[in-house]
Amino acid sequence: MSDFPYLSVLTGAPLVGAVAVALVPRSRPQLAKWLAFGSSLVVLGFSIAMWVAFQVGGARFQFRESYRWIPFWGARFTMQADGIALVMILLIAVLVPVVILASWHDAEASRRSVPSFFALLLALECTMIGVFAAADVFLFYVFFEVMLVPMYFLIGSYGGGERARRQYAAVKFFLYSLVGGLFMLAAVIGLWVVGRNQLGHPTFDWNELTHLNMATSTGRWLFLGFFLAFAIKAPFFPFHTWLPDAGAAAPAGPAALLVGVLDKVGTFGILRYCLPLFPDASHFFAPLGLVLALVGILYGALLAVGQNDLKRLVAYTSIAHFGFIGIGIFAFTTQAGTGAVLYMLNHGLATGLLFLVVGMLVTRRGSAMVGDFGGAGKYVPVLAGVLFIAGLASLALPGMSPFVSEFLVLIGTFTVNKAVAVIATVGIVLAAAYVLWMVQRTTQGTVNPTLASVDKMRKDLSVREAVVVTPLIVLILFLGFYPKPVIDVINPAVKATLSQIGSTDPAPTAPTNAAGGVK
């Protein structure tokens, strides 16, 4: 394990980039764009270096660094990464350059400051990495809340659609997340008080706080405070209503980051904070989590089928996918947990890709409504093909990475809770329904006559857009056939998390050779 402070560099570099880009004058948008792209590539480089430096099978938490911050409260600037966090940070590092490329012309379309747009994207990257890297509960909370500010401006100022809807979506997003965050604040303070009384000194350090013994009722209330915030973030039904509006209003790039990364903070938070800090409460509330996740799968999928707005449709599919992740987490088996984390990565890639491709279609047509498309494949065949691939990834076609994660989640859940697994499987069928129907309605079948008059529809995939989608497709296919490198990193971390909550995997009832299963 090298001593290079990867995590603070990864958190600080985008911030430096954001400040630099923000200072670029409005009259030089190209400079801002290239500067932003360069910064994101630097971050990508560092994160790949960190991946290589990570010792698979080594210590659970690596790259730990800790600096003095607020000794009065026991809050330190501490960062560390386990396999789960590492994978998430890699996802961010891969997605952000792709999103910057994809949004190359979006900022100008909104007639607002171009440097600010990219500066906000980089600031968002900084806070997102910080959330996953933080090992101090106070620091985590700070990043968790600050994350809202750049995303709010990205949705509200640069989003598409009429201004009233944009405002509404941005404010709803902000207030929902703030509400969750404030409940979590009460829980964080409660946890701090419990920790201080037991340990004798005030501390926010995650390593110390996971060794507390607390009264059952205290543990349950604190768990609820954290869980509420994460359930709103994820989002789980019934706290999901902000996502469709925000997803529809945001520009395609930030929307991809919204569902690809921001929402993962919710499920990551459950894995990293709710489960290990409050093991008894986790077991107590697991049935609730499973039910909410299950309802989310079916509800999100059913609502996605009927959507006429492409971006809202993708947002609803996100709710469905997060239901799968939720099931994987609350099943409390290593298989399901590994599947859930892998799902987080794959969903980021697949739904990110889907959002970006939908964004390309929307920019061409000038509208996100399905009714305005129809047979678009005739004009933009390559783009339609890419949309089809993205859709297939979303519905977890075998050979693409989401299939592996979905499979793991379902198998891991089946061993402990057959009913939940069976009902969840219905979600796969619904996924096929909404994806295929959407693809068919937009790019296949009879050609919509209004398309002929739209100039932009004649331009197929440009080089820039090809560069945007290629890395994502390559990753999806590669991890679909060879997910081992990632699973090797995730598995020990999930095992350690589950052992912290005192869960053991069920012994196999018949001799099996299941992939990634219990040895």
């Binding site: 607020i70 990043f143 809202l148 509200g156 100022s157 409660g190």
Partner: protein, 522 residues
């Protein structure tokens, strides 16, 4: 036989070093009055500003010197025969008051935004007449505000260091009366300004009367007005405490009025809206500090542990304050009234910290007062910048699209709104965190839950303003943001820097507040 002839009268010992800040400010105010009387009009603005600045800086230096001596040697002081107690919290609050006073003074002195400054040239001219209009356009503003402000600050310094109820009452009047006058000195919309002053004066007079009557009852109960003696009497007496309870309630009414707690908050929106904006800034920051300094001292020193627990009643008042402040802020359409209701809600949060009754409760309240003061003065400084030909444009609809016209100032104001909403990386968050953690520590979790819920409600009006500035298009009536002069820029810069600094690196100030958080009871 007269006592003097008897020769047995001993003069009280006055520790001039400890009293120096107050004496300097009163001296500065007197010099200011002389300047008003004798100096030709042309010279007055510059000289008054310099006199006030010099007095404030000198007072600050004395406070720091005394503070360094205290923290070094741990030597708080009772002086003026125990009427004044210059201890840790007293010094911290005095320092806070003076620093905030310096920042507000910069706002008072700014003459670049409006020709002649923010104050009326001659307050005696009848509002609405031709003479009034002429003087609003051309005449150079009156400079009475400077000595009045120094009197008010001097009174506030005494208020937070008073060690008995009568001294406290005297200080209360000394700082309130100049404030009533200051509210009447607006250059534009003079009727509104005079109405605000009248309202403040009348309601303030009632509150002071309650305060005085409460003092009388408490004196009847304990035989003394000194905090230490009251405390001893409250502990000693067994069951017949009705006098104490009623007296304490009336004292609390007087104090809570100044602090703008529900249901004694009704004056706040009207007075904040009518007063000249620099005065509003001064009041929002310094009066709050003074009022809570008084509340802290009275509660922690005098009425610390009586056999009856008033925490529930005060807790209900805190919850109501937070609720009313946040709910009513949502519906406001005038930015100054919105900030006034936010000020009321913040008084509720401060009460949450006060009611913890632990050392951390005291230190967190001190920190909150300091952090909040800077943010609120900067917020009102931005309000002074948004103007059209008729003066300040405070109706919210006029702020639409400000982000397009003046992104820098809209960004500054957005940052201040985020600070009020309690987003991390701002002092608003660290202050709220300090206060909430102290409350949970002091077993007042219900107050924290109420605080969290009202924070959510309160976030909405701030967000509304941010949305209005950035996400709306500017209309024809959107005014431009005036280019601030050096003074207002300094205020904005200081406010933003302190808000950011206390949000990202609050350690030093938290430690300072903690070291200062030990009342002297003697």
């Amino acid at each position: 036989m007269s006592v003097l002839a008897d020769g047995s009268f001993t003069a009280p010992h006055l520790n001039y070093v400890a009293l120096a800040p107050m004496l300097i400010l009163f001296g500065g105010a007197l010099v200011g009055v002389l300047v008003e009387a004798f100096l030709p009009r042309r010279w007055r603005p510059m000289v008054q500003f310099l006199v006030a600045l010099a007095a404030l800086i000198a007072a600050l230096v004395m406070v720091i010197l005394k503070g360094v001596k205290i923290t070094g040697v741990n030597h708080p002081v009772l002086t003026a025969s125990t009427a004044v107690s210059v201890d840790g919290p007293g010094l911290f609050l005095q320092g806070t008051l003076i620093v905030l006073g310096i920042v507000a003074l910069l706002l008072f002195a700014d003459r670049t935004l409006e020709r002649g400054g923010p104050f009326v040239a001659s307050a005696a001219v009848t509002a609405g007449t031709e003479a009034d209009r002429t003087q609003a356009q051309r005449a150079s503003g009156g400079t009475d505000a400077f000595p009045l402000m120094q009197f008010a600050l001097g009174g506030m310094l005494l208020f937070v260091s008073a060690n008995d109820l009568l001294t406290m009452f005297v200080a209360l009047e000394v700082f309130s009366l100049p404030l009533y006058l200051l509210c009447a000195l607006a250059r534009r919309r003079r009727l509104l300004s005079q109405e605000a002053a009248m309202k403040y004066f009348l309601l303030g007079a009632y509150a002071s009367a309650f305060f005085l009557f409460g003092i009388a009852l408490v004196y009847g109960f304990s035989g003394s007005v000194g905090f230490a003696e009251i405390h001893a009497a409250a502990l000693a007496s067994g069951n017949r405490q009705s006098l104490l309870i009623i007296g304490f309630s009336m004292i609390a009414i007087g104090l809570l009025f100044k602090a703008a707690a529900v249901p004694f908050h009704v004056w706040t929106p009207d007075v904040y809206q009518g007063a000249p904006t620099p005065v509003t800034a001064f009041m929002a920051a310094c009066t709050k500090v003074a009022a809570f300094g008084g509340i802290l001292r009275v509660l922690y020193v005098a009425f610390d542990r009586p056999s009856w627990d008033y925490r529930l009643v005060l807790g209900i008042i805190a919850v109501l304050t937070m609720l009313v402040g946040s709910i009513l802020a949502v519906t406001q359409s005038d930015i100054k009234r919105l900030l006034a209701y936010s000020s009321i809600a913040n008084a509720g949060y401060l009460l949450v910290g006060v009611l913890a009754f632990t050392k951390s409760g005291l230190s967190s309240s001190l920190f909150y007062l300091l952090a909040y003061g800077f943010t609120v003065i900067a917020a009102f400084a931005v309000v002074t910048l948004v103007r059209d030909s008729g003066g300040e444009a405070t109706h919210l609809s006029r702020w639409a699209g400000l982000g397009r016209r003046s992104p820098l100032f809209a960004a500054v104001f957005t940052f201040l709104m985020l600070a009020f909403a309690g987003i991390p990386l701002t002092s608003g968050f660290t202050a709220k965190f300090a206060v909430f953690s102290a409350a949970i520590d002091g077993n007042q979790t219900w107050l924290v839950i109420a605080g969290v819920i009202t924070s959510m409600i309160l976030a909405f009006p701030y967000l509304k303003v941010v949305v209005l500035m950035w996400l709306s298009d500017p209309g024809e009536t959107t005014p431009t943001v005036s280019i601030p002069g050096a003074f207002t820029s300094a205020v904005l810069g200081i406010g933003v820097v302190v808000t950011l600094w206390l949000g990202v690196w609050p350690t030093e100030v938290l430690d300072l507040a903690d070291r200062a958080a030990q009342f002297l009871r003697g």
